[in-house]
């Protein structure tokens, strides 16, 4: 489309939205970063996204990208395979992550040592299809993420439902587990998997360390079920209308949605209105 004939002034380079092939700058002083390529000393964008400039480094952050995975990321994953002393976990990335048997909490106390019988009954901890709340510990040589659940709040997820969103809409923050005021717990996985569940008091979890791998849901009342569906729909509409998903934006969406029936939240008109309402409140707050 618009091919610039003159290189833009330095302060104009950043935060432009570009498409693949757009000239960013032909000034040879700049170095190329991710999302760009060089032809005849000019830097062009190779992806569709926003231009970022740090000193002399020019890069383009794509609008849509596979979840990459950083050390320390809090994620939600689904077990795809049970292998020798490890599980393979789908983390919505280019490769499945790995959860080692030595990286999980064993029932009967955090300090319990791994025994041979644990190796033989790995499915009693996590089986195929289970959802796990974990943290990225490190990388393997091939780039696969190594996960761990060595903290009381991590582990198997139950009492709710999964919502899949674009990973770039979930910002990294200090806390990824939120107890919303409406009585629903939300786990915001940075990889785009979000778990919405009934609120379970933290004390209950600590008391029953034997039950941390249970598959049994608690009793969920009709009101709780409706609230979970409402929050799940709010997250889905925030996702489709490209609004950042944080506990704040979810709460704003929830409050704006109370005037509508749960099943209507995903219709185009109502969803667009709600997204606008959330954006206005977020702008006001900023």
């Amino acid at each position: 489309m618009d091919v610039d004939t003159e290189p833009p002034a330095p302060r104009d380079i950043a935060s432009r939205i570009v498409t693949p092939g757009t000239l960013i700058t032909s000034d040879p002083a700049y170095m190329r970063g991710h999302g760009t390529f060089v032809e005849n000393t000019a830097i062009y964008s190779s992806v569709a996204g926003a231009v970022e400039r740090i000193n002399k480094l020019v890069s383009v952050r794509p609008l849509k990208q596979r979840y990459g995975g950083e050390i320390g990321d809090i994620i939600v994953g689904r077990i795809t395979e049970v292998a020798a002393k490890r599980w393979r976990v789908d983390v919505n990335s280019r490769q499945d992550g790995v959860l080692l048997l030595s990286s999980i909490n064993l029932p009967g106390g955090i300090q319990r040592r791994k025994s041979e019988s644990d190796e033989l009954q790995m499915r009693s901890f996590f089986a195929e299809g289970d959802l796990v709340f974990a943290e990225v510990q490190s990388y393997f040589a091939d780039g696969a993420l190594s996960l761990h659940t060595r903290s009381i709040q991590y582990g198997k997820l139950r009492n709710g439902t999964l919502v899949t969103v674009f990973p770039q809409l979930v910002p990294r923050s200090r806390n990824h587990f939120h107890s919303l005021p409406c009585g629903v717990d939300v786990v915001l996985g940075v990889n785009g998997y979000i778990w919405v569940s009934k609120h379970v008091p933290a004390s209950t979890i600590e008391e029953n360390s034997e039950m941390i791998y249970s598959d049994k849901n608690e009793f969920i009342s009709d009101d709780e079920r409706e609230t979970i569906a409402r929050i799940a729909n709010c997250i889905q509409l925030l996702n489709r209308l490209y609004v950042k998903i944080t506990d704040t934006s979810i709460i704003f969406a929830y409050e704006a949605s109370l005037g509508h029936a749960v099943k209507d939240l995903l219709t185009q008109d109502i969803a667009t209105d709600l997204a606008h309402a959330v954006n206005s409140r977020l702008d006001q707050q900023a």
Partner: protein
């Protein structure tokens, strides 16, 4: 189609929700999702339609094209009827398990379903008028190739498939054929036909408005749901696709799911409910088709750039 593996906790959550009549996205057991329909997007085809079942720009997406050909009659074929040949293919990009030969079984299942609903239906249950597709008896007839491509899967493929096929057939226009009887020197009369090569001189298919609509019922626990999402299909024990004509007659039934069967009493309840739901779906279809036709006329301005992610297709 066990594509999605859910944890026991998720499955229990879904099943209990359905038992209470409150599904994961707040729908009741008989509520359906939004449908987007567009027609005439394949200019080389005689008719085409694309149907998506799902909300906010994501859903089960099926594209159907209809291509008409003239076939020479061979002995053994019906003497004065045209024919309809269906083929359904699931694109490997629709789901991971469709890669390579993974989609073979489901392609066959869906092709059989479409066949039952459209071409078998034409031979008696009030669908397409096949005799109108005959050009010259015992000589030439139109054959309609109905080709469907499943582009994305989020549950309820059968419903989207039949809706798209129905719309594509309604969108189909055949060139007009002129038939003349020529008497040669020895006195024998022979019929000859000529296909008029005028892009404006086109004829619609007869009997399309009699084509049925399909509604799929998935049994979950002791209840059943209509328009199941992918997650709900993962906990389905057995499913029944019922095709109902505008005259509210049952045209075709296909049972899917190899794990369990239906209780006969549940089946008759489902068939009754199918009539009621089909009536609503037929009304909705008329409105959707009109909107698609309007959209087709305005299409000349190029693609629309409305609310980014929610552009129709």
């Amino acid at each position: 189609m066990a594509s999605l593996v859910l944890s026991p906790a998720e499955q229990d959550f879904i099943i209990r929700g359905i038992e209470k009549g409150f599904r994961g996205d707040g729908r009741g057991n008989l509520d359906r999702r939004e449908v987007t329909l567009r027609t005439g997007m394949i200019s080389q085809a005689s008719g085409s339609a694309r149907c998506r079942i799902g909300n906010l720009g994501v859903g089960t997406d099926v594209l159907v094209g209809v291509k008409a050909e003239v076939n020479a009659w061979t002995p053994g074929e019906p003497e004065a009827l045209g024919s309809v040949v269906c083929n359904v293919e699931c694109s490997p990009s629709a789901a991971q398990e469709f890669e390579g030969r993974g989609a073979e079984e489901i392609n066959v299942e869906l092709t059989q379903l479409l066949d039952r609903v459209i071409s078998r239906g034409s031979q008696g249950a009030g669908g397409l008028d096949l005799s109108a597709l005959c050009i010259i008896p015992k000589q030439a007839y139109w054959v309609l190739h109905v080709d469907a491509l499943v582009l994305d899967v989020r549950g309820s493929i059968a419903d989207a498939l039949v809706m798209a096929a129905r719309a594509a057939l309604m969108d189909t226009r055949l060139p007009r054929v002129v038939v003349e009887t020529i008497t040669d020197d020895s006195g024998t009369a022979q019929a000859e036909f000529d296909v008029v090569d005028d892009a404006e001189d086109l004829v619609a298919l007869k009997g399309v408005s009699g084509l049925p609509v399909a509604v799929t019922f998935n049994q979950v626990g002791k209840r059943y749901v209509v328009d199941a999402s992918e997650q709900e299909e993962a906990v389905t024990q057995a499913k029944l696709t019922v095709a109902v004509s505008p005259a509210l007659e049952i045209c075709a039934i296909q049972k899917g799911g190899i794990f369990r069967g239906f209780q006969p009493s549940l089946m008759s309840e489902i068939l009754q409910t199918a009539q009621r739901i089909a009536k609503e779906e037929l009304t909705r279809f008329v409105a959707l088709y009109e909107e698609a036709a309007k959209h087709k006329e305005q299409q000349s301005d190029g693609p629309s750039t409305g609310s980014t992610f929610l552009v129709a297709f």
